[in-house]
Point group: C3
Chain length 334, copies 3
Amino acid sequence: MISAHPVQAPSAPGWRHRHLLDVVDLAAWELEMVMATADEMATILARPIAKVPTLRGVSVTVLFYEASTRTRVSFEVAARNLSADVVNIAAASSSVSKGESLVDTVRTIEALGADVLVMRHPRSGAPYLAASVFGGHVVNAGDGWHAHPTQALLDLYTLRERLPAGGLRDRKVVILGDILHSRVARSNLWTLTAAGADVWLCGPATLLRGFEAVARALPAERRLTVTTDLAAALRDADAVMPLRIQQERMSGGLLPSLREYAARYQLTAARLRAARPEALVLHPGPMNEGVEIAPDVATSGRSVITEQVANGVAVRMALLYLLTGGRPTTGADG
Amino acid sequence: MISAHPVQAPSAPGWRHRHLLDVVDLAAWELEMVMATADEMATILARPIAKVPTLRGVSVTVLFYEASTRTRVSFEVAARNLSADVVNIAAASSSVSKGESLVDTVRTIEALGADVLVMRHPRSGAPYLAASVFGGHVVNAGDGWHAHPTQALLDLYTLRERLPAGGLRDRKVVILGDILHSRVARSNLWTLTAAGADVWLCGPATLLRGFEAVARALPAERRLTVTTDLAAALRDADAVMPLRIQQERMSGGLLPSLREYAARYQLTAARLRAARPEALVLHPGPMNEGVEIAPDVATSGRSVITEQVANGVAVRMALLYLLTGGRPTTGADG
Amino acid sequence: MISAHPVQAPSAPGWRHRHLLDVVDLAAWELEMVMATADEMATILARPIAKVPTLRGVSVTVLFYEASTRTRVSFEVAARNLSADVVNIAAASSSVSKGESLVDTVRTIEALGADVLVMRHPRSGAPYLAASVFGGHVVNAGDGWHAHPTQALLDLYTLRERLPAGGLRDRKVVILGDILHSRVARSNLWTLTAAGADVWLCGPATLLRGFEAVARALPAERRLTVTTDLAAALRDADAVMPLRIQQERMSGGLLPSLREYAARYQLTAARLRAARPEALVLHPGPMNEGVEIAPDVATSGRSVITEQVANGVAVRMALLYLLTGGRPTTGADG
């Protein structure tokens, strides 16, 4: 019989996780390890030919049950830069639409030779189910409202790189908008508070529901403030991250209208003047310009939105390397 | 003018088929040749880096007019393991939806440089039409109810590997369920009877229609029994292959309901006790667990369902190699 | 910060365009340069392994907002033949469907590492907007009714190769059918008149609207005739290119019915007898056989339709090379 896992590379030295399901699993020193590895990957990306043979022979399957451009392509590019083989499966055009169970799909993907399964799923927790049956490494690329660990790690990387010495310690970071439905907010509040930031969650009360309890449940040394008061949130902020407002949330009665949301919570240049002069603007994308963010803010000198995308490739290269162990990244172009 | 077929590799020595359209075309010694070549490919898959340069420069186009995960990805992985280039075309997002004829699509694919065309089509016989105009090699990846040759070959490979010495000779193999609409059943009954197995087709009478005549038309030395009696079929069976019951068949009045089908024909652990103790369970996938197969049977130690998927990659590598001739597979990693 | 453009290769020596948005931008000597480079690429395509390392490390993103097989795959194959990495984004399954602006999508694609953006868009002018923000090279693969430069260049290449000495000078070339909605007609009339051809546009009056003015606006030395008289157009023609008639145009009241169109304007063998005996038949595809072209004409010895497809790969390889500068194409197989 054919071994379904000829490669099954060990993780990188010192790395102790087989899967990346949630940032909550990562200790402070592990976050540092991801950041340092991403730095190395960034130097590879800066070469004329941004390709190394590190993961040659490793097979990465990208299984997305939700539409996505940036995250899917980011993983695909990251894997190819490391010379891994990539298989793309979009749920809409696959057997998935024939009602096969997720467990059977994952077993099939493993039998087809996948070493790494990068998955996005609309149900919170789906990657845990996948990890329970998959013989290789599972990377959560977003599950329901629950977690989006690689997004939080690339946001952390971007902020550390752009903030002056001292990093995130005591920096005021505001996450703005639809916190309730956001896996990005849930993952970021964990990594940012772990890095010592003073995190504020701000939005209409209906979209903050339950986060007071989250704030109370955090370890005492972590700082998280939940407020509907935009002016208070933005005052002296070091970084602001408005989240995408999804049209489809309107029908749930959580927001009166996009227009009213924009009137009260859109990140505009005028409102941003309350923040520090050098305050950074992030956005996980895709943006609804004119809704949660004003177009001139999205493209201003403070915006690091395209840097987030570029850093995403480096961070995902780092994670693929750490999880699978890879071969030395110092090798010649393969 | 550019030659549309710079490669047009000759077939492997001894191999006499330009296309793989139906298993009926394969003589017994050719089935052996596929099996032996798949064995070689399995040793490549067992290497740390499962990649050989055998088909470097060969261009494989995978053209699917029906949704599929396992078969499409299996061909894609098989081709890449042999270093071929792969182009994927899903009918839904292609010019095909603009009403272009199949013949024109095939001519276009050839002019774009394809050496091998792997195709799945809802109409029986479509690959024959393609082969009549395509200058390279056509592989039928499933056409209507007619044939699914690579599935039958991977099933044959899986059974031979798992059955004790003596192979399939006189082994009782049961194919269970919707035989009528199944290209898997039609291809398997040919290869399995060719290998000497005692093949039983079992299901509701409405889903066996016409197969009595098939049994009578087979050469005398081949053994095929058609029955609605599940207990008789399973008695002392060496292998059982329940087929997917497709929801959409219900509307045709061929089955009263999924629930009634499951009550009468689902392969359960209790029913399987009538088979030999070491009887194998196969399924071509995707499974409807709880309909044609009980979940505990699907994941029991008798199940070789994920082995089928893994073997499928080896068998498809073998076929791509045999059809195109390839270069020696003993070369270094390329 | 990671440079989003580690490669950003200079254009080939002598080539002065960063983007290919419209053939109108190309001078006569630049058309010659494309043709000569395509000749070199055709010799690569004729090799047993049609692959050179020229664009290794160059990342090509193919972003299509309209369904397509031949053009998308042609660019994909062209890029891979030059060893570039290819990322495919189909609008239907991407964030594009979440309402992200084109500008944001393009910025994201650049940040993900793309050096070349090949795009097709239903709105005329969309590639200009993309080029205004993209740091790499934009190739227009068709925008609305406006332009389809690579199609015109491959048509030019095909005609030059097949017409006897003297090339297109004074050759009568007829473009037939739905000129009004055709980006292929608009791009071809420019390149063909530039090459000295006597170009005739022919079709029902409703589908020629505005082209009399186009003819008057051309430089005096260019020859363009607009007529509804099919017999006059075909008389002594050297080449005829019927265009696809799109079913969806019928609803606009521009045509009474496909049947009536076919009766009056279908290119049939009988009608083609008015042309020169050796007249060539081209079609940009996909064809509606039995509507704008009779099946026997499409497959006759005069048809160069599959040559157009094959030449398209060579021409697109040439353009990717010219735009990005590439490395020498004489290198060994990489």
